[in-house]
C-alpha cells in the first residue's frame, strides 16, 4: 500500500514536470499536433521508417543552421552569416583538400570561428548593426563560393573522399544526424551548465542591468558571435555530408529563412532575453515536420511546396510570437 502511494507521488511529479515543460515550450504543442495530423491523413507514408530517416536528416540540416545563431539572438542581436559560413567553408574544404587531405574538413569550424569573431568585433567595437553586417557577410561569402566554382570550371564543389562519412554505423540514424548530435550536446551544455547561457539571457533582457551586475557585456557579445560561427562551422559538416560531400554554390534565400524560422518557431524572440538552443531544436522539428508532411500529402505539387511552406510559416511565426507573449505575461 505504502509503495503504491510512493509510485503515485512519483507519477504526479513526472506529470507536473512534463506539463511545465510543455507550458514553457509551446512548440511541443505544434509538434504533437503536426504528428497527429499527418499520421491521420497519410499514415503509411508519414509513419514509415524511411520517412523517419528523412525527417532526421532534414532536422539535422535545419538545426545546424539555427543552433549557433540562437546564442546571438538570445542577447538581442542577430546573426545571419550561417549561410555564408556553410557555403564558403565548403568551398575552402574543396580548395584545401588537395593539400591537406582528409584533415581539410577541420577548416569548417576554424573558418566559422574566424567569421564569427570578425562579426562580433566589428559589431561591438564599430557598432555596426548586426543584421546588416552579417547579411553582408553572407552575401560576400556566397558570392565568393560561386566565384570559386566559376573559375575552377567545375559544376559542383564535391570532395568524394569524404563519402565514407555518409555511411551510418547505426540503422535508422542517418549520419548527418549523428554528426549533428555532438554540436547539439555542446550547445545545450553551454546554455544550461555554464554561466554563458545566463549571461547571454541577462544581456538580452536588460543590457544595462547586466553591465551593473558586473558582466563584461562587450566581451560576451563577441563571444556569442564567435560561438555562433564556431557551432555553425561544426554543424556545416553535417550539412556538407548530407548534400553528398559538397557545398551549395548558389545562394537560396529560402535556406536563409530556414535557420531564422527554426529559431522563431521554437520560441526565442528576436528581441532576445529568453529562449535558447533547446527551443530552437524544437522549432527546427516543427519546421521539418511541416515541410515533410506537406510533401507527403496527395495532390500537393512539390513545385509549389515552397509557396505553401512560406505561407504556413508566416502564420506560424505570428502564432508563435503571440503564444510567447502569453507565456511571458502568465
Amino acid at each position: 500500500m505504502k509503495s503504491g502511494l510512493k509510485e503515485l507521488r512519483v507519477g504526479a511529479v513526472v506529470i507536473t514536470s512534463a506539463w511545465k515543460l510543455i507550458k514553457m515550450n509551446p512548440a511541443i504543442w505544434a509538434i504533437i499536433a503536426l504528428v497527429i495530423i499527418f499520421s491521420a491523413i497519410v499514415p503509411e507514408r508519414f509513419l514509415s521508417p524511411s520517412n523517419f530517416v528523412a525527417i532526421l536528416k532534414s532536422f539535422a540540416v535545419t538545426s545546424m543552421l539555427a543552433v549557433g545563431p540562437t546564442f546571438v539572438i538570445l542577447l538581442g542581436s542577430i546573426d545571419v552569416s550561417y549561410m555564408g559560413i556553410w557555403m564558403f567553408g565548403g568551398a575552402l574544404v574543396w580548395l584545401l583538400y588537395p593539400y591537406l587531405g582528409l584533415a581539410s574538413i577541420a577548416i569548417y569550424p576554424i573558418f566559422g570561428l574566424l567569421v564569427g569573431l570578425f562579426n562580433g568585433v566589428v559589431h561591438v567595437k564599430a557598432k555596426v548593426p548586426s543584421f546588416i553586417l552579417t547579411l553582408a557577410m553572407t552575401a560576400l561569402l556566397a558570392f565568393l563560393t560561386t566565384y570559386v566554382r566559376n573559375i575552377s570550371g567545375v559544376l559542383t564543389l564535391t570532395v568524394p573522399a569524404y563519402n565514407f562519412l555518409r555511411e551510418s554505423p547505426i540503422p535508422y540514424l542517418p549520419s548527418p544526424f549523428l554528426l549533428a548530435l555532438p554540436v547539439i550536446v555542446v550547445a545545450l551544455f553551454l546554455m544550461f551548465f555554464t554561466k554563458l547561457g545566463t549571461y547571454f539571457c541577462a544581456i538580452g533582457s536588460n543590457e544595462e542591468g547586466a553591465k551593473l551586475a558586473g558582466i563584461n557585456v562587450e566581451k560576451y557579445k563577441i563571444l556569442a558571435f564567435t560561438l555562433s560561427g564556431l557551432l555553425t562551422g561544426l554543424g556545416s559538416i553535417a550539412i556538407f555530408v548530407h548534400l553528398g560531400c559538397q557545398t551549395r554554390v548558389d545562394f537560396d534565400p529560402s535556406e536563409l529563412i530556414r535557420g531564422l524560422a527554426a529559431i522563431v518557431l521554437g520560441g526565442t524572440p528576436l528581441a532576445g532575453g529568453m529562449g535558447g538552443p533547446h527551443r530552437t531544436l524544437l522549432g527546427a522539428l516543427v519546421y521539418v515536420l511541416i515541410f515533410n508532411g506537406l510533401f507527403l500529402l496527395p495532390g500537393v505539387d512539390p513545385n509549389h511546396l515552397k509557396l505553401y511552406v512560406g505561407t504556413l510559416l508566416l502564420g506560424a511565426v505570428i502564432a508563435a510570437s503571440r503564444a510567447l507573449k502569453g507565456a511571458l505575461i502568465a
Binding site: 555554464t194 554561466k195 545566463t198 541577462a202 536588460n206 542591468g209 551593473l212 551586475a213 563584461n216 532575453g273
Partner: protein, 518 residues
C-alpha cells in the same frame, strides 16, 4: 466642505497592492479653480499611486470622485481622464526627441486637424504659434524637441497636456473647463535658473488652469503652492492652506519624514555608527571631476565606514556613486583602491573584480524581473556555485545554486514560495532583499548604495538596514547616495553635503542629525 470653487474632489480613496501593502489609506484631496496644490511626501508615501488613480492607470479599491460637485466614476484610462479634464506630465521620458516642436505639441491630436486624410500642417503651425505666444514660450517652431533647453521642453510638454485636455474634454458646452494638470517632479532635471523660469510660466498659466504639483523639494513647494497635502505611509497627515496659515520649512520636513517612526529605527541602529576610526583605508578618491556633474571630490573611505553624499536632486550625488562603480566615467581625478589606481574608464565588471559592488533600489535596474530568485542571486556569485572538472570549464551545480539561494532567502527572510519564484511577483521589499542578497554573499570590499530603500515600506526598510549594518559591521565600506535624510543618519559615519556638484560641508553623523533635527 466643498466650496463653489472646487473642480475635482476625491474622497476616502484606498488602494492595496498584493493584498498586503496599503499604498493609500482613506485619502481625500480637493482641487480648486486656478490654483497650484502640492502633494508632498517621501518615496513610497503613495504620491504616485494617487496620481495614477487620478489619471486612470490604477483603479482604487474604494473611494469617490466628484467633478464640479457631481459624483462621477473614476477614470478607466488616461484617455478617459483626459475627457474628464485631467492630464499628467511625467517626470521623464515624456519628450520625443526627434519630433519638431509643432509635431510634438499636436502628437495624438492630429485627427482633429486632418482634412481628407491630409494633415493641415499650416493650421497646426499657426495654432502652435498662437498658443506659444499666449503662453509665453519662446522657441523656434521648426527646431526638434531635443534641441530645446530642458526647461522649454517641460513648458512645451505642459502646453501639450493643456491642449490635449481642451481638445478632448467632454464639457457641457456652457461653462469653460479648467484643465487639471498633474506635474510629476517637473523640476528634477532642471538647473536653478531654469526652475525659476518654469515656475514663472506656471504662475502665468494658473489664470486658466489648475496644477497638482508632486514633489519632495520643500523650498519649491513652499514658494509656489496655494495649498499643500502631506502624504506619509499612504495617509494624508497634514493639509496646509498657505493663504491663511504660516508653515515653516522645518515643520513641513518633519511632517514628511514622520519624526516618531524615525526614532524607533534610529535607536536600534545607531550602534553601527562611528566605529571606523583607526581602521585601514580601503578607497581613496582625489579630485574626482566630471564636468557639469561634480567637481574635485576627495575623500578616504575606511574599512567598515559609510560615507554619504547628501544634497538636493541634481547635486551630483548619484553621479559620484555611478562614477565610482563605472556606470558613468569621471573626466579626471584619482580613484585608489587598496593603494592601486583604478582606471577611470573601466567598466563595472572590472570594478567588481577589485571588490567594488553596487546596489540600487530602483526596481529592475540590476534585478532581472523575469528570472527566478535563484538565478538573480547566483549571477554575481558564479564562482561559488560552479564546479571545475577541467581548468577551463566551469559547470554550474544546480544544487549549489539552490542551496545558496535558500541560505540567502532564509537569512534575509525573503518571503517567496521557493527559490524558483520569478522576481516580478515579489513585493517591493522582497525584490530589494534579493538585490542586496547577492552582495551579501559576494561580500565586496566597498559597496555603493544608490537609493537602497526607495519605494518600500518601513518594515522592509528596517530589514534592509539590518542587512547593510551587518555587512558594515563585517568591515565592508559603503558609499550612500539617497534622498532620505533618515537613511544617512542610520547608515553613515560621515556626510558630505553637496550643492551643484561642489562640496559644501562635511558633517559627522551627530552634527548631521542635529542639523536635520533628527
Amino acid at each position: 466642505m466643498s466650496t463653489t470653487n472646487s473642480i475635482l474632489e476625491v474622497r476616502n480613496i484606498s488602494k492595496t497592492f498584493d493584498r498586503v501593502v496599503k499604498a493609500l489609506d482613506n485619502v481625500s484631496i480637493e482641487i480648486r479653480r486656478n490654483e497650484i496644490i502640492s502633494v508632498v511626501g517621501e518615496n513610497g508615501a503613495g504620491k504616485s499611486t494617487l496620481m495614477k488613480i487620478l489619471v486612470g492607470i490604477y483603479q482604487p479599491d474604494s473611494g469617490e470622485m466628484y467633478y464640479l460637485g457631481r459624483r462621477i466614476p473614476f477614470p478607466k484610462s488616461p484617455l478617459d481622464a483626459l475627457r474628464k479634464g485631467i492630464s499628467i506630465v511625467y517626470q521623464e521620458r515624456g519628450v520625443i526627441p526627434h519630433l519638431k516642436v509643432y509635431q510634438f505639441l499636436f502628437l495624438g491630436l492630429e485627427e482633429k486637424f486632418t482634412k481628407l486624410g491630409r494633415l493641415q500642417l499650416g493650421k497646426i503651425i499657426g495654432l502652435t504659434q498662437s498658443i506659444f505666444e499666449e503662453l509665453g514660450i519662446k522657441c523656434d517652431l521648426a527646431s526638434s524637441m531635443y534641441e530645446l533647453p530642458p526647461s522649454v521642453q517641460k513648458m512645451v510638454e505642459i502646453a501639450r497636456a493643456i491642449l490635449s485636455v481642451k481638445l478632448m474634454v467632454e464639457g457641457d458646452g456652457e461653462s469653460e473647463v479648467t484643465p487639471i494638470i498633474i506635474l510629476d517632479e517637473p523640476t528634477a532635471p532642471l538647473s536653478t535658473e531654469e526652475r525659476d523660469a518654469l515656475f514663472n510660466y506656471l504662475l502665468n498659466l494658473k489664470k486658466s488652469n489648475s496644477f497638482i504639483f508632486v514633489s519632495h523639494i520643500i523650498p519649491e513647494v513652499m514658494k509656489f503652492s496655494d495649498r499643500i497635502y502631506v502624504l506619509r505611509d499612504g495617509k494624508v497627515v497634514a493639509h496646509h492652506d498657505l493663504s491663511s496659515e504660516k508653515v515653516t520649512e522645518d515643520q513641513l520636513f518633519r511632517e514628511i519624514v514622520g519624526r516618531e517612526s524615525y526614532y524607533s529605527l534610529w535607536a536600534r541602529y545607531v550602534y553601527g555608527v562611528g566605529k571606523a576610526e583607526g581602521k585601514r583605508v580601503v578607497l581613496s578618491v582625489r579630485n574626482l571631476t566630471k564636468k557639469g556633474y561634480f567637481e574635485n571630490i576627495s575623500f578616504d573611505l575606511h574599512e567598515g565606514e559609510c560615507i554619504g553624499f547628501f544634497g538636493p536632486a541634481g547635486c551630483g550625488k548619484s553621479e559620484i556613486a555611478r562614477a565610482l562603480y563605472g556606470e558613468i566615467f569621471a573626466d579626471h581625478g584619482e580613484i585608489i583602491m587598496d593603494g592601486k589606481h583604478v582606471k577611470l574608464k573601466s567598466e563595472p565588471y572590472a570594478r567588481i573584480k577589485i571588490g567594488i559592488g553596487y546596489f540600487s533600489g530602483e526596481t529592475g535596474k540590476e534585478l532581472f524581473l523575469f528570472w527566478p530568485i535563484r538565478k538573480n542571486l547566483s549571477l554575481v556569485n558564479f564562482e561559488k556555485v560552479c564546479k571545475k572538472p577541467l581548468k577551463i570549464i566551469s559547470v554550474i551545480s544546480f544544487n549549489a545554486e539552490r542551496a545558496l539561494a535558500e541560505k540567502i532567502m532564509k537569512k534575509l527572510r525573503i518571503r517567496a514560495p521557493s527559490t524558483e519564484t520569478e522576481c516580478y511577483s515579489l513585493s517591493g521589499g522582497n525584490k530589494q532583499k534579493v538585490s542586496v542578497g547577492k552582495w551579501l554573499e559576494k561580500s565586496p570590499r566597498v559597496l555603493i548604495l544608490e537609493d537602497p530603500t526607495i519605494g518600500i515600506d518601513v518594515g522592509a526598510r528596517e530589514e534592509i538596514y539590518e542587512v547593510l549594518l551587518e555587512m558594515k559591521g563585517n568591515g565592508i565600506a559603503m558609499i550612500l547616495a539617497s534622498d532620505d535624510p533618515k537613511e544617512y543618519a542610520i547608515l553613515c559615519d560621515k556626510i558630505i553635503s553637496l550643492k551643484n556638484g561642489v562640496v559644501q560641508a562635511i558633517y559627522t553623523n551627530e552634527e548631521f542629525r542635529r542639523l536635520m533635527g533628527l
